[in-house]
């Protein structure tokens, strides 16, 4: 069937509008970050910078922001390693064994995804304060496990379920223990799933704002989102530098995301729709 000219026109107009709406804010972030200062504060926006500069990236990475970047990398990596280790074990157990109460466990895991963080944060704050973990990496990492572990376990369960159990049965007939079969046979096959889950955990820890805002008062310990937020509150907001910092903050997420979005959405869809 051929589309009429008007229908094609409408289709392409819609496609262009949707594409522009999706991409423009990020594009604008990048453009603003490389503009000269006099081109940022203009009544008529400058779309193509006259003399683009990467100076702000050097400025941002050389200043206090570098520390925030380091903090974010440490906290997100720590959360990923710890959270995914826990989630891989739990996911395997939930995928392969007929546990009593399994239904309720799965429902519990799924429903924790709906818990608002503000309902956890007050007691967590008090406990971390008592333990002296405010303004520390372990404090943030521990708190971040609360929202990474359940969904990561759910995703890993889905990945393990897609691997035929005959695989480890065969290994066990050959004399391997259950754990041996899991570690040496199943886990390597689940590699892509582990990678996708790790990237998911890294992204949510990297993006997290509320807990970091609450637990961190020491400027030296701020993560990227908190540092960024504190920049826009200042008297004369340096939008160019903020945009450069935002690009640094956003780019790794986009890169990771494009790498695994197919697997991620499949895992989440399986999680969301096939209880």
């Amino acid at each position: 069937m051929r589309r009429s000219f008007a229908a094609s026109l409408g289709l392409y107009a819609g496609a262009v509008a949707l594409g522009a709406f999706s991409v423009f804010p990020f594009l604008w972030m990048v453009i603003t970050s490389v503009k000269g200062s006099q081109e940022i504060f203009t009544r008529t926006p400058v779309f193509v910078p006259h003399s683009p500069t990467l100076g702000r990236y050097a400025q941002v990475l050389g200043g206090e922001f570098a520390r925030a970047l380091l903090n974010s990398v440490i906290v997100a990596t720590g959360t990923t390693v710890l959270g995914v280790s826990v989630a891989v074990l739990a996911g395997y157990s939930l995928a392969r064994f007929r546990l009593p109460l399994r239904r309720y466990l799965l429902m519990l895991i799924l429903s924790t995804q709906m818990f608002p963080l503000v309902a956890l944060i007050i007691p967590l704050f008090i406990v971390m304060r008592t333990l002296g973990l405010l303004n520390t990496y372990p404090g943030l990492i521990l708190a971040y496990l609360s929202f990474t572990v359940p969904l990561a376990a759910w995703m890993m369960r889905g990945f393990f379920q897609s691997i035929p159990p005959e695989l480890e049965d065969a290994a066990m007939v050959d004399g391997a223990t259950r754990m041996g079969a899991f570690l040496r046979v199943v886990l390597p096959v689940a590699g892509p799933g582990v990678a996708a889950t790790s990237i998911y955990a890294f992204i949510v820890a990297w993006n997290e704002f509320l807990i970091a805002l609450t637990f961190i008062s020491d400027e030296q310990m701020r993560t990227l989102p908190v540092a960024l937020q504190s920049f826009i509150g200042r008297e004369s907001t340096d939008w160019g530098a903020i945009m450069a910092a935002s690009v640094i903050f956003t780019l790794p997420v986009i890169a990771f995301f494009l790498l695994v979005h197919k697997r991620l959405t499949r895992g989440m869809a399986a999680g969301a729709l096939k209880g």
């Binding site: 739990a90 503000v118 007691p123 008090i126 990297w206 989102p225």
Partner: protein, 319 residues
């Protein structure tokens, strides 16, 4: 004779091994599953369930700054809840959360559906558009809020420039964040921008799962494109659409980052939703009791939505 002796010997040799194997089997089927699950259970009970119960308990107390130092707090029963419902300012917080939340859900579903319909057509550049549409989902909430806040800037923002150059001169220097309604519109756009890709992607997957014959049959019966959507596609996708609405509702009722970064709850608390009010009561006013009560109320609202969500999943599983 030799054989028999051999079998006997083998049996004797096998017995400890078999017992050992039985022990291993018991371990592997009864102990190991829980051992593997243990760390996750510690996280779920220690970092999620305990804090929720503790929040509930704190909501019946007057815990505040003093309680941090000395552990001193008094049980006040339902006073915090009574205060919330008798305070018109805090009562409004709930109305605001619901209105803002549902408006965002409506916007997200409408845009998500439009994007999915568009991406379901065959045209050149479809694959590229499919990737571009994912981008907003990948931008961290704080970064998205910041760039949109800059775009909504009254003097130098590109949105006011665009609106006033197409003839809407009232937007020249229009202050988006001086009043609750335009401020909510600006924040709502960011929320929708970030959440429509997920909805679009899920709906697109749903569209593609509908057997082509059904649509062909409807077409040969004379149904137009809109009628096919209205009477065939959407009814078939009803469970998916319901689940997406519930998930979006849960997300949009607990929005914090975008509001905190873009408006800070202001001007004069007029864009404060429950999560922002909770945070302010707890960590600016240091009234943990009141903050906890607000958090519990939000929790109850979301729990109701979650129960609906799990019901829907079950129905889909059975149906």
């Amino acid at each position: 004779m030799i054989e028999a002796k051999n079998t006997g010997q083998r049996r004797r040799l096998l017995r400890p091994a078999r017992r050992q194997r039985r022990g291993r089997m018991y371990f592997e089927s009864r102990v190991l599953p829980w051992l593997l699950l243990l760390p996750a259970l510690v996280v779920i009970f220690g970092l999620i369930l305990y804090p929720v119960v503790r929040t509930l308990w704190l909501s019946f107390t007057d815990a505040g700054l003093a309680s941090l130092v000395s552990g001193q707090m008094d049980f006040v029963g339902l006073r915090n809840y009574a205060d919330i419902f008798s305070d018109p300012e805090l009562r409004m917080t709930f109305v605001r959360t619901a209105l803002f939340g549902f408006a965002c859900v409506a916007g997200t579903m409408a845009l998500g559906l439009s994007a999915a319909l568009l991406l379901n057509q065959k045209f050149r550049g479809r694959v590229v558009l499919g990737v571009l549409v994912l981008l907003p989902w990948a931008v961290p909430a704080v970064a998205a809020s910041i760039v949109w806040k800059w775009m909504f800037d009254d003097q130098y923002g590109i949105i006011n420039w665009a609106l006033s150059s197409v003839g809407l001169s009232m937007f020249k220097g229009f202050p988006w964040f001086n009043d609750w309604l335009p401020a909510f519109v600006a924040v709502g756009i960011v929320v929708v921008w970030q959440s429509f890709p997920f909805v679009a992607l899920m709906l697109l997957a749903g569209f593609q799962a509908i057997p082509q014959e059904v649509l062909e049959a409807a077409k040969s019966d004379g149904a137009g494109a809109f009628q096919r959507l209205r009477h065939v596609t959407l009814p078939m996708l009803k469970p998916l659409v319901l689940v997406l609405i519930v998930i979006s509702t849960i997300w949009d009722f607990k929005i914090f980052d975008q509001i905190y970064v873009m408006t800070g709850g202001g001007p004069a608390h007029s864009t404060e939703v429950i999560s922002v009010a909770t945070w302010r009561e707890a960590f600016t006013q240091l009234d943990f009791g009141m903050g906890s009560a607000l958090a519990i109320l939000l929790f109850v609202v979301l729990a109701l939505v979650t129960i609906i969500y799990i019901r829907l999943i079950r129905e889909e599983e059975l149906g």
